[in-house]
Symmetry: D3
Subunit: 335 residues, 6 copies
């Protein structure tokens, strides 16, 4: 199985030892991005993964590419463009103090890609799966257009498409709204991650306030509107504190509503990328297991494990995730 992911990679800078940014005299550096995190995790699960992005042609772009390669991700379709490497500063909170992110990502090389920067026919030649998120079409018109091209090719080749329909309004600065851009992209996708708020805001699917399981109601309406969408997935997070969360996941496949148990993580080491780890786990599960329930379980266990691993991406192995799936949350020393 081979997956292709598409999206921006940023340099993440975070003060060590739970310092606030104002206290930092050094920053820990690692690279990450919503879709690249999915690729990295799948590579650690043994899936062939190729990430598509653009970097500036300088030492930072080179470093980011080396990082992807180190994690087992294929980088041969990555291009160099004008612009900078996007950054974000992460101040890691704990207990009652929330983590905070200062983004500094405008004018990135990725947002400056041209419509023909990527040859999607070539890139998707032997792909089985394509994954995108709602961040990419928010960055520039060219990003949205390139993504649309990719989806057209994927659709033609019957490549399965998953989408993390992620929505951060302050990202959309180039004159288009998500409501103008996303529907056409979703119409070429087969699995989407979205909660009821997303579905309401982005696709006009009104929340049924009275229904006990409004998620399923909303999901059904999405499927009516976008028949290509076979599965709608969502995760839930109960945040007891910055260092203690419980997470679970649910899935509607058009017929069945599946849910996982809640997993409690206390303490959390690094919460960033927890959602991406879920996506990667779900994709791995769907590729590997019979039955969506097991895939969903694998996804939520992968996400839980990510919370104990520093950096944006989950680098755990299938074995480590399966240990959790089998119920071993005791953290007992393995010799």
């Amino acid at each position: 199985m081979k997956i292709v992911t598409f999206g921006e990679v940023m340099l993440r800078l975070s003060p060590p030892n739970y310092q606030k940014i104002e206290q930092a005299t050094q920053f820990e550096a690692i690279y990450g991005g919503c879709e690249a995190n999915v690729a990295i995790s799948l590579a650690h699960f043994g899936v062939q993964a190729s990430h598509i992005t653009a970097f500036p042609d300088n030492a930072l772009g080179k470093s980011a590419m080396q990082y992807l390669r180190q994690q087992g991700v294929e980088t041969k379709f990555i291009r160099f463009e004008n612009g900078r490497l996007g950054l974000y500063f992460l101040e890691t909170g704990l207990s009652i103090r929330a983590s905070q992110i200062v983004y500094d990502r405008y004018d990135s090389a990725f947002s400056n890609i041209k419509p023909n920067t990527f040859d999607w026919d070539e890139i998707l030649k032997d792909a089985d799966w394509f994954h995108w998120s709602g961040i990419t079409p928010a960055l520039s018109l060219e990003c949205a257009q390139s993504l649309q091209k990719a989806l057209n090719v994927a659709h033609k080749k019957k490549i399965f498409v998953s989408a993390d329909v992620y929505f951060r309004s302050n990202l959309w600065r180039y004159g288009k709204t998500p409501q103008e851009i996303l529907p056409s992209l979703v119409s070429k996708s087969n699995l989407i991650l979205a909660n009821e708020n997303n579905m309401e805001e982005l696709f006009g699917i009104e929340k049924n306030k009275k229904d006990a399981n409004t998620f399923v109601e909303s999901a059904k309406k999405i499927q009516e509107k976008y028949p290509s969408v076979q599965k709608i997935v969502d995760t839930e997070r109960i945040s007891h504190s910055a260092t203690h969360n419980e997470i679970s996941a649910k899935l509607w496949d058009g017929k069945n509503f599946l849910e996982t148990n809640r997993i409690s993580i206390n303490p959390i080491l690094d919460r960033i990328g927890g959602g991406d780890a879920f996506v990667a786990g779900l994709i791995y599960g769907l590729m590997t297991y019979k039955g969506d329930q097991k895939a969903l379980n694998f996804g939520i266990c992968a996400s839980a494990l990510k919370h104990t691993i520093s950096g944006d991406a989950n680098i755990a192995t299938v074995q480590e995730v399966e240990n959790l799936m089998q119920g071993d949350f005791t953290g007992k020393l393995k010799r």
Copy 2:
């Protein structure tokens, strides 16, 4: 609003990563002191704060002064005296292991100040508030005398005076007892932090063993004895472990008894200065809000937040504290 604070600043040296002192090959260095911590926190809340102290005229005194300035505290009245910079070594505990402090503060430049080192008329010219703690008069007779002078000037200028009537018996080494020195200082103060034990030991206010709320009984007697004292405040700490505490606060204003909810902090990053952060928060609240209850709430939330910030002082903003006041203890990521 402008506050003036007066007291010693020390270099704090602590082993990293929860090492014991015997394991340390390096020490993390930061500066702190009971009253300076109050000034720093208030500066971060946007209040003009001037700290009065004396430093040795060497690289350590210079560093300590730079630190105060960095934190937004006015340093123009600080003087250089003979003597050393006081130190303390902090071994940070966790769970069942207690934190331990080794003090090394004798013969400090601050304890060597002269009666006329500080020109209090000039210093307090445009001040609205003056804050002192029970540590200062314990350090040397000259410290006690200089503080008395400051209080006399403050009283004359009708500057509001708060006092953290803090009592550590092993500090008093110059021949006077706290019972000889503190009453006259308290008689010029308007708000004091003291618990029933302090009130009994220092001012001879006998604890009423039978009364349900002996704090109020004691506070009333203090006010009888020291009519200038308008408010008596105390905090409570339930220590489940070195890394899990619950804190709350209470206040008697002569008429009303106010209390806060308990806030649970788990894990704690740095417990030192939690009391000073409360004082700063309370002062900010009293300066800013109508009604003491809100001020008390702001104080306890500020104190709780300090437990998650490394160093002696609270460097959180008003916004961060108010988020907690509004009940958001979930630690959810802020983007």
Copy 3:
């Protein structure tokens, strides 16, 4: 009182900050070993402790010896042999992620000792106590033989012998089984740490499945078979997560069954050596207190405290452990 301990010392390498091994660009280094950890803890309790081992004659062997000396352990009987210093890589887990150890200990200088490397008559001349573990006879035939010689001498001199009958099957690679080697060693020992599984596997003491307290039943049978064994001890660990455990201990002295309370440690800083810290605490308690119950309590408190101290060995003082014994688990700051 003087104790002699005998066993391998390894270099432990662990990634900082809960990194996985694949993320590490540096490793924290410390030395440790089951029996040496007992010696170090006893030295910190004020007991004269001499550790017997062999090191390679290089900078690593020299460093390991310096470490033992720093911790107060006598090193004058340590010898240099051909071979390497055994290593292990420790990946420290947290919450639901388990810690993992990669051992790299074969062909160590210690496993290459000769039958006459150690002069046990000289070494045990003024000893009161001798301690060994089941790791040593697993490493090489010469290790087993040297240990047997030591026990023969100890027996003759009426030195009290304790044994941590620790069993890891993958260590036994030189052609003998633990069942062939251990019985003769246990027959010269006076106190053993063993759980029912060990007793069944190693000594053929069948577990009585129906009995409420099968530990006592098994222990009685051990004493029948090995009359020298006066006490059988075991610890229990409930693992809520990698960072939250509860521990307790039990002891059978031939007449009485003693138990401790459970102690909860949350968070755990370093779980490695928790068992060795218990053994050292128990030995100290038996040397010092009247009544095994107090010794057992001291042992379990020492073990709990170790979980909050980094490195393999407990370096807490008697005072720190006794504070816990008296029930102070609040972790309150000591000034």
Copy 4:
């Protein structure tokens, strides 16, 4: 004496231990900028210094401001604007390997200032000296206009103006050339730092190829063209390797040509800001000493010393620089 400086402050990120950027897993963080470096050094020399700039209203802008304040620089006229904090990544070279800088400074809050962001009449009210560099007018038209306003006010108030006519062509991206902008700015300045290439490129002063001391020839022509310019100064650097340089300075005051000895620095710790340290030293010298030769010597010694101090700015004291001026380059331990 009070100086006002005007210019951008950036976050500098550099890999530790002479790593290349591709090797970095963390970056050391400090703040710096050509003109702010001058202000910081002068503050350490005891001169009152106020820096004028704009920061983004986030944790990074706050940190940069705290840094300036820590170094003794007045920050009360600093404003917050939209945009980001400019960054640069510094890869520190050694011996034959050159240091390399990756700039990431576009769209900074400073470049987004408005014509009326700063009230120059208020800012320069009690100033004796104003300092600017050629970077500021390169960043945006508004920066150039604001600088021109400042110079007009300074000229009116007879404030002495120094200018580091620094020229990096790739900075000029807003549609104007340095040749269009700089002459008017220089015409209101009294001391300029410029070498013959600058003078040729920027002001059309042709280098006299045959003349032995073409610097003086060029300087004379500058003074003819810009009569306000009283002194022209330049430094020279002989680069034996990235860690071994020799530096010297020269000055033409309209009548006299002055030169310093060459100072050899080996090894260099941090070469960045060496020129700014010279400027600050020269300004201090001109403010303090009689005779430009001594000022020039102080400047070059200050610059040399900066090469041994990490960060962008010279934080040495007058005493430390004067020790070098008196010829003590032996580096002998001071107790």
Copy 5:
């Protein structure tokens, strides 16, 4: 162009900050090996490079493989075998104190390869160049046999073969001497790195004591004996101190004797892998430039640059090396 390299990769552990091993509480970790270093450097020069080795199937083997991939080296032919990852401890010296290495490499997974672990026909299918060193045949008979197989295939396919005939007598522990093994390997090689001592000891080429250029005399005799050898290369190092060396290189191509200038490196950051960087540079030069002189120059400049880069491998770009080749040793800051 594609190169295949074959050899062991070890974990290198070195104390930071020029500590001696006895002082280290942590070790910096990186991976390296004579032949892998060549592959890494060539990958950074843009040459397709595939490294052939075996790793243990644990976190350390995984990390080593990730490192190679990060550096751009193809890892798809790497196999997992029983055994450990070889280690070495590097104590970095400076000035008069020599660096010291403690090897700990026996029983490595690589030394445990089987004759058929690698399918050399497949591996060398599209290779243009094969590189080996004298370390590989020293490790085990199977290593020597596998190398011989590789050379046979390379010879048949007319792949150019370079060999670093490196000789460390204490490595040869499996019963064969280098004199028994190396001649047959050299007879299938086209370029060898060897000095006169190597040629005498390994191939019985007696040094001509009287001849001015005995290197050429020895080289001629090698070519007589091993007609496949087209070029003999050697480097020279003048060691002024641990941190100051001069290096140069020479080459005999059967007709011409070529030499480079001496390059002085002061200070040296990391001397390990300087020879491997030369080999990689020479190979790149021979692949790229016309004329061996330019290739030799590129090689020695690459080697010089490596001395300023930490880790075993040269990660400089072609541009950085060519800057040196054009004579720019000034280390001037590149913006």
Copy 6:
């Protein structure tokens, strides 16, 4: 051979990476003291060494004692006294920037020893050599008296006494002058380190301004005045910069004047304790070799090597020093 040394041990705190003290957010910690440094170096040379001092009974005193023990020094005669552990802050300079020390050593536990704190008969029972320095009698009258007692015992037992007649006037604060105290101590010593200035200031030996070798003239006069003094030794240091020194040594034994070559150290890692390393090397040489010249050479080589080792004490082995003695200053890698 067994040596006893007597003197204060301090905690040394130094900013990492050549930071100035004002820049430090952490300090590297190590313990050292003039006489303890001699003991440590001799222990590393294989000489039995016992250090006599007093520590405060807290975690810092315990740490200092552990450090001595780690280095192989016997600590059984060390006592605990009231007072603090003396400190010093070391700012390490480089090239033209001088290192600077801020002492903070008054009121130390060592200066508070009582006349009978040490039982010198017991301590010196099996000693062959006693070493003291001029710092000890400067700290307090009790220190001077205890030292005098020690010398009386040593003299009686014919133990060889060496003295580093070190003179820092600002240390003498208890009312006595060195001229009152030192002569009686020197009169019981057999080898002294002193330069002509010391001899003039302390013992009134006027420097013969005209004499070519005034050292010998002064030394002769010392021997006339203090017949017990058999050898007078001095070192010379040419300081090219903080990181480049040349050192040499000379000795007068009553008949012969011996000198060493000059050794150049560039770069220096840590210059502190260079003199103590010389003393230890000289003592080792006098204990071991025939002829003072070889001892003097060993001393100066030991001192040179110390300059490349961090911390106060030389931890090199005899082998490492002898390599230098045999002229190998090339720093070539040892495998």
